[in-house]
């Protein structure tokens, strides 16, 4: 069936609209104007760079006599810097109560045997890091992640509700969010106790309370900074350094299943660091 004039007009209008929106999006990402949603909040939605620390090496393929070399692109990774606009002051490490400091040292020294994420365990919050993809809706934020333990998601209500005190403890906790001017604040509680909130043996109690702050730079890069409190084991809240994350065009990829049986083979405690 041939399209009618009306159909053609609608299709043409739609095409022009798509082009216009695309140009607007690209312009807003490069013009220094913070991208915003219709309700006026910064628009954090989109896909963000893969922040996983992969071995910074490469591969050499020989195909029909032709040598092809490629390396892992680590260009999105940069040294820690104090000059991220809007960032809270941060310190290198949390302060544990004196009675727990030996335990932290023991866990850190034996991380390759005792850290659950070495054996396909769920990292929990905040160790999962910043989301790979954010879907921003008026009443909720949806965070999507890639992780070897699975590909978790978090749904963060933005409608002003309080924490669900009857929720079962979980790896990713009970989250509620709100805006503080242009900063998205995600407040999460009610965690299971078998995760660490950072490598180096940062164990926690059931009183773990995590506040994640996310905002856009003028050039529409994402900033992610976490404050952790746990009155059960820490002397006070700990704020980690801010992470500045580039937009990405790389689609999320389903993580293959995780099966690790190396634990019994370890002859020493050498291990990779995460950052």
């Amino acid at each position: 069936m041939k399209p009618t004039l009306v159909t053609r007009t609608v299709m043409l209008t739609a095409a022009v609209l798509v082009v216009f929106l695309s140009v607007t999006l690209v312009y807003s990402q490069t013009s220094g104007k913070t991208r915003r949603t219709a309700d006026g909040h910064p628009d954090l939605s989109g896909t963000w760079a893969f922040g996983i620390d992969l071995p910074p090496t490469g591969v050499t393929k020989v195909v029909d006599g032709q040598v092809i070399r490629s390396r892992v692109d680590q260009s999105a990774r940069h040294a820690i810097n104090n000059d991220v606009p809007g960032a809270l002051p941060w310190t290198k490490a949390p302060s544990y109560k004196p009675e727990f400091q030996e335990k932290v040292k023991h866990l850190e020294a034996n991380e390759s045997k005792l850290d659950g994420v070495f054996y396909c365990g769920r990292p929990g919050v905040p160790r999962i890091g910043s989301p790979r993809k954010i879907v921003q809706l008026p009443n909720e934020m949806i965070f999507l992640y890639e992780d070897i333990s699975g590909d978790p998601y978090r749904i963060i209500p933005m409608d002003g509700r309080k924490h669900n005190t009857k929720a079962n403890p979980s790896y990713y906790g009970d989250a509620v969010g709100h805006w503080e001017k242009d900063i998205l604040v995600v407040d999460t509680t009610n965690f299971v106790e078998d995760t660490w909130f950072g490598e180096d043996g940062y164990f926690h109690s059931g009183k773990l309370h995590v506040i994640e702050r996310l905002w856009l730079t003028p050039d529409n890069n994402l900033v992610y900074q976490v404050t952790v409190d746990d009155p059960g084991v820490l002397t006070g809240p700990w704020t980690n350094f801010p992470h500045l994350i580039k937009p990405s065009t790389e689609l999320l990829e389903e993580s293959p299943p995780c099966k690790d049986d190396d634990g019994s083979r370890l002859l020493n405690l050498d291990h990779h660091l995460q950052r």
């Binding site: 029909d64 390396r71 999962i128 050498d270």
Partner: protein
């Protein structure tokens, strides 16, 4: 690039804590200084975290078939450098040569460094070639 973009580019900081390779070092299991070749038939490729796993039957000096198992880098790493499971699984059923570092405990276990297919094509982890590249 205007100054503002340049400034922001210069202040990029380390990204999120990585999880994929929060793991033991190969040196906790393998003798990284002892790289050895093995010839055999690939029987299976498991594209799994935290390491891909390749199984290979190798005929020993006494003629008996030994079942070797190799791990290698994470699947995400291979994807990032343009190698998919199909590239490795091409070896299934072929007689191939691999270079591995062997497990210190003497078991039939290794870390796969390079695989060369029957047709001469090969895939190698980057360290060796990087050294070669560094030569004048």
């Amino acid at each position: 690039m205007n100054n503002r973009i340049l400034t922001v580019s210069l202040i990029f900081v380390l990204l999120v804590p990585g999880l994929l390779v929060a793991h033991h070092s190969p040196s906790a299991i393998f003798d990284m200084k002892m790289r050895v070749p093995l010839k055999g038939s690939v029987t299976k490729v498991d594209w799994i975290n935290p390491h891909i796993v390749v199984y290979m039957d190798v005929k020993g000096d006494d003629g008996k078939v030994e079942n070797w198992k190799f791990e290698s880098n994470p699947p995400r790493w291979f994807t990032k450098v343009g190698v998919t499971r199909a590239d490795i699984a091409e070896a299934i059923g072929q007689t191939v040569t691999v270079e591995i570092v062997k497990a210190i405990d003497g078991s039939k276990y290794g870390y796969l460094q390079k695989i060369t297919f029957e047709n001469g094509n090969s895939i190698a982890l980057g360290n060796a070639s990087e050294k070669e590249e560094a030569k004048p």
